[in-house]
Symmetry: C2
Subunit: 580 residues, 2 copies
Amino acid sequence: MLRTNTCGELSINNVGEEVMLSGWVQRNRDLGGMTFIDLRDRDGITQLAFNMDENSNLCEQARKLGREFVIKVRGIVIERSSKNKNISTGEIEIKVSDLDILNPSKVPPFTIEDQTDGGDELRMKYRYLDIRRNPIKENLILRARVSSETRKYLDKQGFCEIETPYLIKSTPEGARDFIVPSRMNEGQFYALPQSPQTFKQLLMVAGMDKYYQIVKCFRDEDLRADRQPEFTQIDCEMSFVDQEEILNTFEGLTRHLLKEVKGVELNEFPRITYDEAMKMYGSDKPDIRFGMKFVELNYICKEKNFQVFDSAELVVGINVKGGATFSRKQIDKLTDFVKTPQVGAKGLVYCKCNEDGSFKSSVDKFFTQEDLNNWADTCKASSGDLILILAGEKDKTRKALSSLRLHLAEELGLRNPEEFSPVWVLDFPLLEWDEESNRYHAMHHPFTSPKPEDIEKLNTDPASVRANAYDLVLNGNEIGGGSIRIHNRDLQKLMFKHLGFSDEDAKEQFGFLMEAFEYGAPPHGGVAFGFDRLCAIMGGQENIRDFIAFPKNNSGRDVMIDSPSIIDNEQLNELNIKLK
Amino acid sequence: MLRTNTCGELSINNVGEEVMLSGWVQRNRDLGGMTFIDLRDRDGITQLAFNMDENSNLCEQARKLGREFVIKVRGIVIERSSKNKNISTGEIEIKVSDLDILNPSKVPPFTIEDQTDGGDELRMKYRYLDIRRNPIKENLILRARVSSETRKYLDKQGFCEIETPYLIKSTPEGARDFIVPSRMNEGQFYALPQSPQTFKQLLMVAGMDKYYQIVKCFRDEDLRADRQPEFTQIDCEMSFVDQEEILNTFEGLTRHLLKEVKGVELNEFPRITYDEAMKMYGSDKPDIRFGMKFVELNYICKEKNFQVFDSAELVVGINVKGGATFSRKQIDKLTDFVKTPQVGAKGLVYCKCNEDGSFKSSVDKFFTQEDLNNWADTCKASSGDLILILAGEKDKTRKALSSLRLHLAEELGLRNPEEFSPVWVLDFPLLEWDEESNRYHAMHHPFTSPKPEDIEKLNTDPASVRANAYDLVLNGNEIGGGSIRIHNRDLQKLMFKHLGFSDEDAKEQFGFLMEAFEYGAPPHGGVAFGFDRLCAIMGGQENIRDFIAFPKNNSGRDVMIDSPSIIDNEQLNELNIKLK
């Protein structure tokens, strides 16, 4: 036996007990007569005490223990003289009688502390040391809890966990697939799933009623900080349901998770349509932890000879509460921000609502105090507030103002990571125009059903057709999305036609699904949550990497195991492929 | 809304309620005045009643519904006149007032019944219809329950579920990898994991203490009925434990699963060593639901001028209780069986213990009644029993007798699928000689620790070195196995040397693990359960395929989605590979 307790378990109630602990040397303090060691394991830290007077041999041994040595000790739990109220074991220490070194350690390449001196690359190379640090360890434990609570909730709701295959078929539609050469089927390839979409729909055709899976998915895309070539989804599908039942079920899941994992009780989630979201926030994933909703000003800003507004498709502003105190320099910085290529605005108009009731704007030449007062009324701005206005082409202007809104919120500390504001965004467009391929693409995926009342517009005005599709947004991040699917073969055929699939393409790629729909497919719909991001947001962060045990870098490399790597020619031969 | 209840929910307590049900038409019986439909969903079957006199229109509609049509009905729950005690809803039926066809269905290619007329290939091609059948559906539900109960137990024991990566590094050791070309790293490849072995060990180095995962693994091997290119493992690892604690933990898991899922309470699991298992059962995965233990007869069978026995390394028998009644023909068939190439014995010696106390053997020429009496005593055979004996080279003879033992048990109905007999097999050899490569291979894997007292024999008698390795066997199937790992770099180096790895090979393949061991690796060990097989055995079957939602056939093909398949040249170009 290597321990009777973990390093986070013992308290004042155990005083007098003989215990055995194993763990890592976190800290070693030699105070002359006494040596204290902080012994660490997953559960916590327990202080070990060695007394020079009582056992000089053992104390000498203890003094030599380096950081991260793995040791086993036996001793008696005693009350500490100077207590540490910050940790659960802070009232006791172990008076050690036996000490074994289980494994020595080289000096780690960075400090195993909450704030480490290791840079990103080094931490990734030695990820097994990085995970010893509290923040990363806690992230992984949080992830396990989210996973466990997700299953508990879904099991209780009658969902059945079913594993779908990883070696599937490549489909050109959507993102790029990772592929896997088949040795037994010469010249042929499997693909790794981008999602279990078709399989979960087939499970509904199969009568499994309510399915879920927490499952790895794969996309061979160029990577960004919040994207990984392999990522995890909570994947769900339900039969014989309408949109309302799906929203309620997964609102319930999200509420359950935040309550059980974070202790946060949420009210009913607000719902807005995609059109409203774009109009009020310039984004289909609005952060509603704070205000600054968009106010459209076209009808009161135009025809005052200010060319910028007069020529604009949209003039739109936000009210920055208390922003009248911003200095000229601060406002210049905001102007610089909106002019960066990423944001892409031409300029920024401001209007300060002074304490004395007067207004000061960057366009005083064109607008009277009465005009500005009118702006303020429309924007519900009062003394001390600041109105910021952008103008131009509608979609671009909204996008730019959305960036400004988030930027300001960040600067003003309005994005509290411990506050959770979910919102459903409904009625997404069914199709979006793709400039590159010069055709419509499915905004969600080709199996999403159009709203019945919009179907006839597929021929006349495809862009205006709304889908039975919904996203769940949390703190400005899309954490989940889904749709009611098409379960009718004819409608699915029509969709493929509008997506530019030839009959052959559709048959080649989705023939089995189309055929399945002929054997009694039930009405069904579902949702998928981005599990990595959900965990990150619940952990109060936006970067998913530190919520994944062994992530890859932006080149898709695992720098710890040094992968991908070259392969024996013999291996390639067996697979009937060669390098180009 | 599409339903108020499922088709398995309503009972006599709901009589008088108005309900809405949706599901599939299982059966349609037109009795003239009445038409009855069995409506099926995942939860069960509910009878729908249509009365010609009361609503001829509706009844006409109902009559036309084909098998597997998806319908929605509204109606009143009424008590049935002729009750069906076999199903939970058998006391009621629905007097239907409204009927909607949600989706029609073509006639399915096989019957959706417990016993179907569909062959294997057809069932696989239309797996989504096959899953509608009760036996397959129940298998998948059982699998979900085993998974859920596994997590419950491990969560409670303080295990943390951690996902390890799927895109990892190829290692030539072990079985053949599936590989994945990297687009972003030209000429390089990922591999899909054969198991998360190294990652789980790194998680122990990382201080995560107790890890588990229910995870897909991949092996590109030629397939057999009970093998799939992708399969699922319950993968676990623990730190600061000895073998005893691991055995207790996973004995606890197995007991928990059988109790919660099957309602079977198991006693403490017996334990035998590998050597004992080979000696008593000729197999390292003995089925101990029945007896017929091996009895070695060398010392009483030799030197009687029977050349077959005299020249044999091993003479070994089993006692078939009550087998004296076997006819000559039956015994001839057994002889034929042991002579098949798969079994490979030269012949079979029998000795019947007659009711009158005399003996009749196939070798009466060489052995007296006293000799045979001696055999019977040694085999604990009494009147009415049959002793069957094989002789020859030790390992081959044991293997052959093991086959005979299982064959007999099958024929005698001793392998009751609803009886569960687990056994731990301990002290596996560390190494096994591989004729082909002319060197020792790790029997378990290269990270398995030798028993400390055997380490010095690595140089003198490698084959006799025992490992801290163990298998859990259930009903003659290995359902789990594991080991205490090496956590010391020097010992790991020594192991690699004995396995014929050059320093470069070891560094190239496992350098990161070796390096990790230098930074304070804790003592650790673990286990992996073959999840597919565990589910199959718990479901009373041995073939895993019907416990996997979408399995592949023996050529590694998914005949439903027709995968693997050919790939666009463009896609191959991007990946910098081409076909040979």
